[in-house]
């Protein structure tokens, strides 16, 4: 059932830009048209491009937003999920809890080495 819905009407998450539109809906309560427009503007594409997996795979790679991995290519230089979410938070102007905690941890003073 999950696969059928995903293929029939889903935005295909990390394979395209569905996760980014979902973040604007959940965090800001944006309706679908507004959320797609917001994300498209931030990415410099049209709303229709957001579910174009070929275009989004390239763009996500360039902007270091995280993407789907498959076996025929090596993605060793792609960002970790945490790094990708730092870029996503910056791109979309969102405060993501896991990012805020990570930054706070880096800024925390550590005891001096003896």
């Amino acid at each position: 059932m999950d696969v059928a819905h995903s293929c029939a009407s889903g935005m295909n998450g990390l394979r395209a830009a569905g996760d980014l539109v979902a973040r604007m809906q959940m965090a800001k309560g944006m309706r679908i048209t507004q959320a797609k427009r917001y994300v498209a503007d931030r990415l410099g594409v049209t709303p229709r491009d957001l579910s174009d997996n070929t275009a989004m795979h390239e763009l996500r790679g360039e902007l270091r937003l995280g993407r789907i991995f498959e076996t025929e290519a090596s993605y060793y230089a792609d960002p970790s999920p945490l790094e990708a979410k730092c870029h996503i938070a910056d791109l979309l102007g969102l405060r993501l809890g896991v990012v805020e905690r990570f930054k706070a941890g880096l800024a925390q003073e550590r005891p001096a080495r003896r």
Partner: protein
């Protein structure tokens, strides 16, 4: 069919089912039936011999998900990762198999640890979900009187008092668990099947949402409903002056919006004895009034046994894809 069985039919029989389905909802809820052009489009979708159907390119919507994962995928976080990388879902949801805030409260530190791990392994939004599950607060599972026993005994005042006491306990638990998972990095919370135990169950969810919204302005909060009409197991409960018993999807949306949720999920239960076309037309008729009233995204529930999807643990893809497309094409939903 509504139970997932495959059967042969005709285009004219499907047309009749669609008209009967929309009329069933219209008369039950005093709503306008679907328009003729909407029924024509549904007929094209359901009378097609194709195994699979889908929305037009560019019309895709966000998919949110209750309880992400299957037993074949290893640990819970492995399952979330597979849904992100293999199935390409827009969002995923970490959940405990008991799926009740009351039950989760007892293991919340471990759920926080799983959320931390999920957040470190996934890029897509990871939500945390459970049910208000008000029945758990009644005897013998909880400390409150059992209104399911008090009501048949005509102890109406006692039944109402028991539900009011349960609401207070449930709100405390939902706020406690919600804040714990938010603190562990959750991208949002899902209050699933709100109203399953009636108007008191919905009130508990709304009060929890209101409290969380006041304390955490950035928190994503989704409220998914249990059914198309809120049962009046208490009968007198109100949220900010709106009586909850008897609320239909558009009314449910209004109180959920008012409480401060960012996503609303209407639910319309499927009839296993009727066709998928009949169930879908009925579900769309119930949900359609939400679309004009919505200030927040509408993610219609289209899982097992709701929204027109057959009541079958392995719902056939021909049926699911038709429901999926029909919901988006006819209602212009924000998500599923």
């Amino acid at each position: 069919m509504g139970d997932g069985t495959l059967f042969d039919t005709t285009r004219s029989a499907i047309r009749t089912d669609l008209e009967d389905g929309t009329q069933a909802a219209a008369s039950r809820a005093k709503l306008p039936p679907l328009e003729a052009d909407e029924l024509d489009h549904l007929l094209d979708i359901f009378a097609s011999p194709a195994r699979f159907t889908a929305v037009d390119i560019g019309d895709e919507v966000v998919l949110s998900k209750d309880g992400t994962g299957t037993p074949q995928l290893g640990s819970r976080v492995d399952a979330l990762y597979a849904y992100e990388q293999v199935l390409a879902h827009d969002t995923v949801e970490l959940f405990h198999i008991d799926y009740s805030f009351k039950a989760v409260k007892t293991v919340v530190p471990f759920e926080q640890q799983y959320m931390k791990e999920a957040q470190e392994r996934l890029t897509v939004p990871v939500h945390y979900g459970a049910q208000p599950d008000l029945g758990r607060y009644s005897e013998p599972d909880g400390p409150c009187g059992n209104w399911a026993q008090l009501l048949p005994a005509l102890k109406i005042d006692e039944a109402r008092a028991a539900q009011e006491a349960a609401v207070e306990l449930a709100v405390d638990d939902m706020v406690y668990v919600g804040e714990a998972l938010w603190d562990a990095g959750a991208d949002g919370l899902n209050f699933d099947t709100a109203g399953a135990a009636g108007d008191a169950d919905l009130l508990a969810a709304l009060l929890a949402v209101e409290t969380l919204r006041a304390r955490h302005p950035d928190m994503g909060i989704m409220v998914g409903m249990a059914s198309e009409i809120v049962l009046g197991t208490h009968g007198r409960l109100e949220f900010h002056g709106t009586r909850l018993a008897g609320l239909k999807p558009a009314g449910q949306l209004r109180v959920v919006q008012e409480a401060g949720a960012t996503v609303f999920g209407p639910a319309v239960n499927s009839n296993a004895s009727r066709s998928t076309a009949w169930n879908t037309a009925r579900a769309l008729t119930f949900v359609k009034p939400c679309m004009a009233a919505a200030e927040i995204p509408i993610h219609m529930n289209v899982g097992m046994g709701v929204g027109g999807v057959p009541m079958n643990a392995f719902a056939p893809i021909d049926a699911v894809s038709r429901v999926s497309r029909a919901c988006v094409d006819v209602l212009r939903l924000d998500g599923l």
